[in-house]
Every structure is written in C-alpha cells, then in structure tokens.
C-alpha cells in the first residue's frame, strides 16, 4: 500500500454533503481494467458541460484550486457504490487527503487501501476550514499522520482519530494482504474447524475450461 506519513498541500472545497461515488466517478468510466488513469473522469458530470468544457459554476474548477491536494467537503462523503475507482479517481485528480465530518464506510476503506487519507474532523472545524479555504488566497494545510493532527501556518488546528490498524498500515506502507498471509496457519486452522455443512460453489457451478 502507498505510504502516507505527512502531507502538506493546497486546499479546495466541495461544499456539499453526501457526495456519492457515482458523482466522483460516473459509471461509464468503470469499464477499464487498470487502476490508474481515472483523474480526468473525476467529478465528470459536475466538472464538464455537454460540450466537454469546464463548467464555470463548479466549485473545484476555480483557478485557485487548480493545484489542490486536500479536499474539504461535507458529511457522508463517498456514499453509494463500492467502486474503488472513486479513490483512484481522486488520487488521479491530485488529491492525497479528504477532510470531512464523516465518510461512507466502504469508501473510507478503499481510500486507506490506496494511500488517500480520509480525515474525520468535527463539522464545526470542517466548516471553519472550508470558510478559510473559500477566501481563495491559497490556504494550505499540513496533515501529519504520525501525530494524527492537522496544522496550518499558525499551528495545530485539530487532532483526528484514526484506527491504529490503518495508521500503521499507512505509515509503514504495509500490504494488508501480506499481513493476512502471515496468519496462514490460523486461516488453515479455521478451515479445518469450520462446519462441513457450508456450501461450496464447485459442487454445481460451471467451471470454465482453461483455454
């Protein structure tokens, strides 16, 4: 997994709650089989008009936000579809962290898995950071995962909670699969004691032939 220790960058706001993953990356872009190359499709319908020109009224299209790498947004960010393409698209767009009062469950896991840090802060703090960013003078933040805190040039703004599991994974760039594979003896032991009554797919499913 991509490590994340500390990030310093420019902020941008997307001032709305419940941004769903269909908006972050619309379905027509889910047909590819790669993990990258989704940045141009990020927020596609909000970002471009029918002719493909950037929409002047879409917040993220503001010139002051062009180099932003920290997204400040509303509650329940990333709700809806489980598509990990949403995390890939945000990373492709240039974001390394998203700050919100809350995140949807599956999206947050997908973000961690890809080194995109979801930072949960109280709504009042997020609102203040949003107001500050919207002044349009290039507000910058530092997100320090080691200390689990957010700072700006005048100092510490707030600490954030993050489950130790993900903090360690991100700080050390650990691969959760490799970590699980180290427990293979435990997995095998579980398989030996689990009920033989559980179904198996191979008993009736059509297995395609190797071509």
């Amino acid at each position: 997994m991509e490590a994340f220790k500390l990030h310093h960058g420019l902020c941008a706001t997307l001032s709305r709650d419940d941004v769903d993953t269909d908006q972050i990356i619309p379905k027509q872009f889910l047909k590819r089989t790669e993990r990258d190359g989704y940045g141009d499709s990020c927020f596609f319908a909000w970002r471009y008009d029918e002719a493909g020109a950037p929409r002047g009224d879409f917040e993220l299209n503001a010139s002051a936000y062009r180099e932003a790498s920290i997204l400040i947004t509303g509650q329940n960010f990333g709700c809806g579809s489980s598509r990990e393409h949403a995390a890939w698209a945000l990373l492709g767009y240039g974001f390394r962290a998203v700050i919100a009062p809350s995140f949807a469950d599956i999206f947050a896991t997908n973000a961690y898995q890809n080194g995109l840090l979801p930072v949960t802060l109280p709504a009042s703090v997020v609102s203040r950071l949003g107001d500050r960013t919207r002044q349009g003078d290039g507000y910058e933040l530092t997100i320090d995962l080691q200390a689990a805190e957010v700072r700006d040039e005048s100092g510490r703004i707030a600490g954030f909670e993050i489950e130790e599991f993900w903090r360690e994974c991100l700080l050390d760039g650990l691969d959760p699969i490799a970590t699980a594979m180290k427990r293979s003896a435990d997995i095998t032991a579980h398989e030996q004691r689990r009920s033989p009554l559980f179904p198996v797919t191979s008993s009736f499913g059509p297995t395609p032939e190797v071509r």
């Binding site: 089989t33 579809s81 990990e84 699969i177 699980a180 579980h190 797919t201 059509p206 395609p208």
Partner: protein
C-alpha cells in the same frame, strides 16, 4: 467513519466475548443453552468467523462465500498475478457477468469493445483460477445478488462479500454480508479473509401489519427516509418486528438490499422457518438428514431473545405508504399522496441547499404533488426488485392494460431462472400484451453500464435502488418506487396510488 473506530464504541458486545464464548460458537450457536448472555445474530457470526485477533478489535474474518463480477474484479486478479499469489479457495468463490451485459437477445453481440474486454478478462481469470463462472450464455446467469440466494449459496450464519455495495441483500438470510472494494476483493481471493473491525449494531423494528399496496420496497424507502442517507453509518442493522417476520424471502432481500442506502454496513434478518423453507431443495443446500442438521444449525444463528443493540429505531407499519423518491438520494422520499418539499420547510441551510440542487437537477418545482409528476420511462428490475414476486406484483397491475403512449417500459428479470419461471406462469405475455419490453437478465438500467440508459432529461419510474444524479444515464432523472407503483406509472404516464387501483393486491 469507514471503519467504525473501536474506541468510543465500546458496546456490551465487545465485553461479552471470551475464549469460551468462541468455542461455543463453533459447537452450538444457542447461547441460552450454554447459559451465556443473549447475543445478536451478528455477534454469533462475528465470533464464529474469527481467524486471528481480539474480537473487540480489528480481526481477520473468514469469508464463506465470495461473489465476483466483471466490473470490480479485473484489477484484483491483476494484483494477484503481479504478486504471484493464487486464489486460495476457488470452491468458495463464484463469478457472474451481470453489470454491463446487454439485455437484448444473447445471440446479438455486446457492442462495447471496452466492456467486452472486461467480460473476456473475467472468463480468463476464472478459467485460470478454477472459479465457477456464470457467463452471458449460461441458463442461470443473472444479477449476482439474485442468483446467489436462488442457488441456495447464501445460508444463515455465513459471511458473504462481493465487490458491490448491494451485497447487503444476502443479509436477508441471517448472513453477515457486505460490499467491499477491489483491493479487498484481491485480499479475499488471496486469503479468503478480510481485516474487519467490529461495527456498532442497530435494531430497526417494524411492527404492525403492512397496509394494502405497501410492499417491502416501501418499507425500505420508509426506513431510509427516517434514518437519512448517513443515519445508519457503519452499523450492522438487524430488521425485526412483525412486518419483517411476515415478509417473504424476496421481500426480505429487497429490504436488506437497500440498507446500504441508509449508510449502514450491512442489513440482516434473523433466520426463521421462512428462511428454512426458502432454502430447502435449492442446488447448494444439503438434502435428507443433512438438511435437517443444517436447518437446526441455521436457526441457531437467530438473535437470542433479550439480546441488545447499540441503537434501536422503531417504525409502525401504519406510518408506511407507497413511496416515491423526488430527489437525488434515496432519503429524499415522499408518500404517493405527498408533495415535493418547499425550500422554506427545510430545517437547516445544508438541507435547503441540497434540496434546491436536487429539485434543479430533477426539473421539479417546490410543492409539486407526487401524483402530478409525469414520466417517460419505466424500469422494472435490479438486485432490489427483479425476483419472481416483484414481477408478479407488477404484472398484476399491468394485466389487461396498456402502457401509456408517452412511456417506454422495460422489464428485466433478475436471472435466467426468474425469467423462465415468470414465462412458465405467463407473466411475459402479460407484460408484452400491455406494451412492456421483456428482456434478458442483468443489472441493466439500475446503473446503465450496458446500452440501457436514460437520455438527458428523461424521467424514469424505477424499481432500482439509487436515484443519484446521472445514475441511469447522464442527465437522467430517477424516481425510486416499488414494482407495483412502477407498473402503475407505466400505464398512466404519471405516478398513481396503487391503493386506488382495483387490481392492486396486498403483495
């Protein structure tokens, strides 16, 4: 938050677990018999699937059934290849082509070269790993969340995952079932396990008797309207109460399916005789004496009387009506007799902003009566509402009537098996005679990854699960309803109250 933080959510559940408890979970799931404190179905499943770790923290959780489809798996298989890893348990994995398959005759080619490549990769990946695959031409092909239960693969007490958020559907069987991302798909392929943190629990009790014309879909929309799209965030919801007990398995699947739309991690319903009866005789279910043993074991996973949840919501059936969503998320919902809200009614500024944006996108004026909203398209299908019971409910409304001249209406059965069963009882004739299109199985216009999409500005009455902007096609406008309400809208060209129609049935 994505992984409900262990700190601060220290529930009774976390304290109750012990080594002894774990051992018991493997032998008998009845806590009462063992003199243990009563436990929820979720706690029993969590305990009995713990591979490694402390149960009150993030653990390695064993996965009994991994469902795979073409859209969220190619990168996962590629990841295995890149790291030289194998699929650990192809015999606990099942793949299906559903998300982007066309719904026209199977002999007609798939028009989309990029989509075709995804289908091709799924075939190749399954062949190489020995994973059973229901491809485009298999008689049982269908939507992953329809065919799993139909085959009897989803059983009480199991853990079921899939790279699809509507995996919550399988919770209807008293299974712990949830959607995962592609990195986690890769992890399950490689290890048959997932790193999981325990979730807070929530009971949603729905009591009373469902009024005539009010279906499981309306219960789901009513629950989401009550909780809001973030209200269930991160929780495992268990639905209880007389309404839930009286639902068929199809209805329970519809209800659990939409739990994700309230922001919960999973929805589930304790197994009972209805569950056992549904499973008997299905291909993946044991027969003879083994069936009796399995059934006894299944029922042991039901939540014990007196078990407590971290939170409880109570809804009375009398509060429910046929619902129609008017906005751009599933909590933006009103009864058929209701109206689109006025901005001045919004309780706060963020709600007002979101409402204004939704009305603008949906092309609706404040205060419009729901019955006055006219539609262009009707979609009956999706993992929410494409099972035989759903098609029967829609057909009961359609029978002997004609689709309104300004409406194009599609019926997409959830699986090949559903389609054949419907045809055996003549539902295809009913739909065709009324002017509905009768199509092949797949996800279709629920998410419009195949050729079935709305055109910009088109308005659709849809039995699917999401009315997000552009979900069914860029610029398309989606109103979520039950199958009966969708069929009624197709006939009238606008939303109508199925309770007022003579042909409406209690189902």
């Amino acid at each position: 938050m994505g992984d409900p933080p262990c700190r601060g959510t220290e529930s009774a559940f976390h304290k109750r677990l012990s080594k002894e408890d774990e051992a018991i979970a493997f032998q008998t799931t009845s806590s009462a018999a063992a003199g243990e404190a009563p436990r929820t179905a979720y706690q029993k499943i969590w305990n009995s699937h713990l591979v490694s770790g402390n149960p009150s923290e993030r653990i390695l959780l064993y996965v009994d059934l991994h469902l795979v489809h073409e859209v969220t798996s190619p990168q996962a298989f590629a990841g295995l290849r890149a790291t030289g890893r194998q699929v650990r348990r192809p015999d606990l994995t099942m793949a299906v082509m559903d998300h982007l398959v066309p719904t026209w005759e199977r002999s007609r080619p798939t028009p989309d070269p990029i989509g075709l490549e995804q289908l091709r990769q799924l075939s190749e990946n399954c062949a190489a790993a020995g994973v059973p695959l229901f491809d485009l031409h298999h008689a049982r092909q269908g939507i992953v969340h329809v065919i799993g239960p139909e085959l009897g693969l989803t059983q009480p007490g199991m853990t079921v995952v899939c790279g699809d958020s509507h995996t919550a559907t399988h919770g209807a069987f008293g299974a712990l079932a949830f959607g995962i991302g592609t990195s986690e798909v890769e992890q399950v392929l490689a290890t048959q396990c997932l790193w999981q943190a325990p979730s807070p629990t929530m009971e949603v009790a729905i009591d009373g008797e469902l009024p005539k014309g009010v279906t499981a879909k309306d219960v789901a929309l009513g629950v989401i309207g009550r909780l809001g799209v973030a209200g269930g965030r991160g929780s495992i919801v268990e639905y209880t109460g007389s309404v839930v007990r009286n639902l068929s398995m199809e209805g329970r699947m519809t209800l659990c399916n939409m739990t994700i739309e309230a922001g919960a991690r999973a929805g589930m319903i304790s197994p009972d005789e209805t569950t056992v009866r549904y499973l008997e005789g299905r291909p993946a279910v044991p027969t003879g004496p083994e069936f009796d043993r399995a059934a006894e074991r299944w029922l042991g996973f039901a939540t014990d009387p007196g078990a407590t949840f971290d939170r409880r919501e109570s809804i009375q059936a009398a509060e429910l009506a046929p619902f129609v969503t008017w906005g751009t998320n599933p909590a933006m919902v009103a009864a058929i007799t209701g109206r689109v809200p006025h901005l001045d009614e919004c309780p706060d500024q963020p709600t007002r902003d979101a409402t204004a944006r939704a009305l603008d996108y949906m092309g609706l004026s404040e205060g419009t009566a729901i019955e006055d909203i006219s539609i262009d398209r009707v979609f009956i299908g999706s993992c929410t509402n494409s099972r035989l019971e759903d098609l029967r409910a829609a057909a009961a409304i359609a029978a002997g009537n004609r689709v309104h001249s300004g409406v194009r209406a599609m019926v997409v059965p959830g699986s090949g098996a559903v389609k054949r069963a419907a045809e055996a009882e003549g539902l295809d004739r009913v739909f065709r005679d009324a002017g509905f299109e009768w199509l092949e199985a797949g996800c279709s216009m629920c998410l419009g990854m195949n050729p079935d999409i709305l055109l910009p500005g088109e308005r659709c009455a849809s039995t699917s699960n999401r009315n997000f902007e552009g979900r069914q096609g860029a610029g398309g406008r989606t109103h979520l309803v039950s199958p009966a309400m969708a069929a009624a809208a197709a006939l009238h060209g606008h939303f109508v109250d199925v309770r007022q129609l003579a042909s409406a049935t209690a189902s």
